[in-house]
């Protein structure tokens, strides 16, 4: 659960550093690359945080034995 916010902080830190160090000629390209990376990996990191929360709460201690157990709707 803690890994996900760590990843998010790391991604933003790396993005700021790389965009900050980019030259005028490469700035637009680097910004686009990091925008793509952030757009892709931010939702995934949130998913990882939810997974961590479920694991912490013990929801994975018992995995369903049959499909009927996972249709709780």
């Amino acid at each position: 659960m803690l890994l996900a916010p760590s990843i998010i902080i790391f991604l933003f830190w790396q993005a700021a550093e790389k965009i900050g160090h980019a030259t005028e000629a490469t700035k637009a390209n680097v910004t686009l690359q990091w925008s793509i990376i952030l757009i892709i990996f931010l939702p995934i990191s949130i998913g990882l945080a939810i997974f961590g929360y479920y694991a912490w709460k013990g929801y994975y201690e018992h995995l369903p034995e049959s499909s009927s157990e996972i249709t709780d709707y």
Partner: protein
């Protein structure tokens, strides 16, 4: 139907019909990647910063990023109207968009419309692929007998690798038949693989039209139990959503990076870092794939006996432990500094320098020289060095009129300095009063393109190490379809398994070559301009470690025999 699905012959037809379509979809998706260099030159303006932006976006990311959206759109359709009609639709979309990419005129002809059209078609390709795989895997799994589900679905798993093989083979064949220049021209042979797709798709559609709906989905439909809102049922309820997350972080994420490292990053690495030539690097991959592909079926069948979990996790563990030594060996074997063999001086040559005025900047002349260094073991390393000579004034003559003198013969081993005396012929437009100019320049950092043809021994060792990596791919991917199918109930299976699959495989995996190359770029400094070529492996290894830990703790090794619900 029951008679058909219980017989080997019936299953053979189902597998064949499903696999051909899926194979073609993978083929369509990969030819774009395999021809990325040519496509970027044809559809994007040269020497433009914006071109770099668009080509980066289009080639490396767009097709992969939209795959999960395709999974949502077509997964929903598949759970509502049926598997058969949905994956027929994805096939038509994929074939149509691929064929149309082959018809789009180049940037020179229609300008910015070219990259925009290609980008749109590429997005359609990604969407279609997002819908295809889940449908085909579900369809086959729902027909297969419970005790052989891993075996039968592993045939579907071979299609991604065989699609890559087919794409490589067709491209190499046309390129060798046409020659490099014709192949890469605006309406050249690089378009044929896109056009061939139409034929393949028509054949596949005819075959798939003869297929029936999945018996399990048909039963659910007959009983009026189809899902009204598969997206809500898949992701809106914790009991199912937690399984989607487990599938992604405990299995598919690691599978994706192992898949793309073994088959895509390996080829990118030996071509761009080790500088093995275009044809040889692709031949190496094709041979490795050919010999490793049967292992998909081997591990799929094995998973029916010992369970899916440990086979997949063992594949990840082997990748984690061996990637760095394997890629280090690639560098070591292809580095001329490590060659013990002598240079065969009778075959080592320095070609005549060829000069021409730069087409866009008439103040520049480019002088290229080719050095062939041949070793006694048969290895041949070709260095093409391009020096730039700067004129004092814009040159308005023609290239043929330029005379030049190489002042000193370069040392092929070092190629450090070129001293060129350039004599511009009479009649050339130069500053007033000057009939010819002698320009001496020291090119401090000439552009050097290196292309290596390997000796026989090294060639087969590299084939072997890539084969090993593809075997890892077969371990993580062979049992995957059966694993995913068994995780979710019939009525929302298509949607539930497609999303984690396409995030794990398409996003985590598909970005391996791009992110790997980017990480290597980050390690480049002024003191170390080449950076750390192995640094790119930290991305797949890191993701695989995380997945291995999660999978080991939370996945279950039990085979679910009852998926008929």
């Amino acid at each position: 139907m029951s008679k058909n699905i219980n017989s080997e012959k019936g299953m053979g037809f189902i597998i064949g019909a499903s696999s051909v379509g899926t194979l073609i979809e993978w083929y369509d998706f990969y030819i774009f990647g395999m021809l990325a260099t040519i496509i970027s030159k044809q559809f994007f303006p040269e020497d433009s910063g914006t071109s770099a932006l668009l080509s980066t976006l289009a080639i490396f990311a767009a097709g992969f990023i939209v795959r999960p959206f395709g999974a949502l759109v077509f997964g929903r359709l598949g759970d509502m109207i049926g598997r058969k009609h949905t994956f027929l639709l994805t096939l038509v979309l994929m074939g149509g968009s691929t064929f149309c990419i082959g018809l789009v005129p180049g940037f020179k002809t229609i300008g910015w419309a070219a990259p925009i059209l290609v980008l749109i078609l590429r997005l359609v390709q990604g969407l279609a692929l997002g819908g295809e795989y889940g449908g085909a895997a579900t369809y086959v799994a729902e027909h297969a007998p419970a005790h052989r589900r891993g075996y039968w679905t592993s045939w579907i798993q071979t299609t991604a690798t065989l699609g890559l093989f087919l794409a490589l083979g067709i491209i190499l064949l046309i390129r060798n038949m046409q020659g490099v220049d014709t192949f890469a021209s605006e309406w050249g042979g690089w378009r044929y693989p896109f056009w061939i797709s139409l034929l393949l798709v028509i054949v596949s559609i005819v075959i798939r039209m003869r297929m029936s709906e999945s018996p399990m989905f048909a039963k659910v439909k007959e009983e009026g139990k189809t899902s009204v809102n598969p997206l809500k049922e898949s992701f809106g309820h914790r009991a199912n959503f937690k399984m989607v997350l487990l599938a992604l972080f405990g299995a598919v994420m690691g599978q994706g990076v192992i898949w793309y490292t073994g088959q895509f990053y390996a080829q990118t690495f030996i071509e761009n870092i080790c500088k093995i030539n275009f044809t040889e690097s692709r031949n190496i991959l094709m041979i490795a794939i050919l010999f490793a592909t049967p292992f998909f079926v081997v591990f799929g069948a094995l998973s029916d006996k010992i369970g899916r979990k440990w086979i997949m996790l063992l594949g990840m563990l082997l990748g984690i432990c061996t990637y760095f030594p394997i890629y280090k060996s690639f560098i070591k074997w292809t580095d001329p500094a490590n060659k013990r063999e002598l240079v065969d001086l009778s075959k080592t040559t320095v070609g005549a320098a060829i000069a021409h005025v730069d087409a866009t900047d008439k103040k520049k002349m480019l002088v290229s020289t080719q050095y062939d260094t041949v070793y006694t073991d048969g290895a041949k390393f070709t260095y093409t060095k391009v020096d730039t000579i700067h004129f004092a004034a814009t040159y308005a003559g023609n290239t043929a009129a330029i005379g030049y003198i190489i002042a000193n013969k370069d040392n092929p081993a070092t190629m450090d300095t070129v001293l060129v005396k350039t004599k511009v012929a009479a009649g050339a437009l130069l500053p007033d009063g000057v009939t010819y100019a002698i320009i001496e320049t020291k090119s401090a950092k000439p552009g050097v393109v290196i292309e290596k043809t390997l000796d026989n021994n090294t060639y087969w060792w590299i084939v072997f190490l890539i084969f090993i990596q593809v075997v890892y791919v077969t371990m993580v991917y062979g049992p995957m379809a059966a694993f995913l199918v068994e995780l979710f109930p019939t009525k929302i299976r298509y949607t539930s398994m497609s999303l984690p699959y396409h995030i794990g495989n398409g996003v985590f995996g598909g970005l391996v070559p791009f992110l790997g190359t980017l990480i290597v770029e980050f390690t480049k400094t002024t003191a170390n301009p080449t950076g750390d070529p192995l640094a790119g492996l930290w991305y797949p290894v890191g993701v695989a470690i995380l997945c291995l830990i999660i999978g080991t703790i939370y996945l279950r090794n039990k085979i679910d025999t009852n998926v008929m619900d």
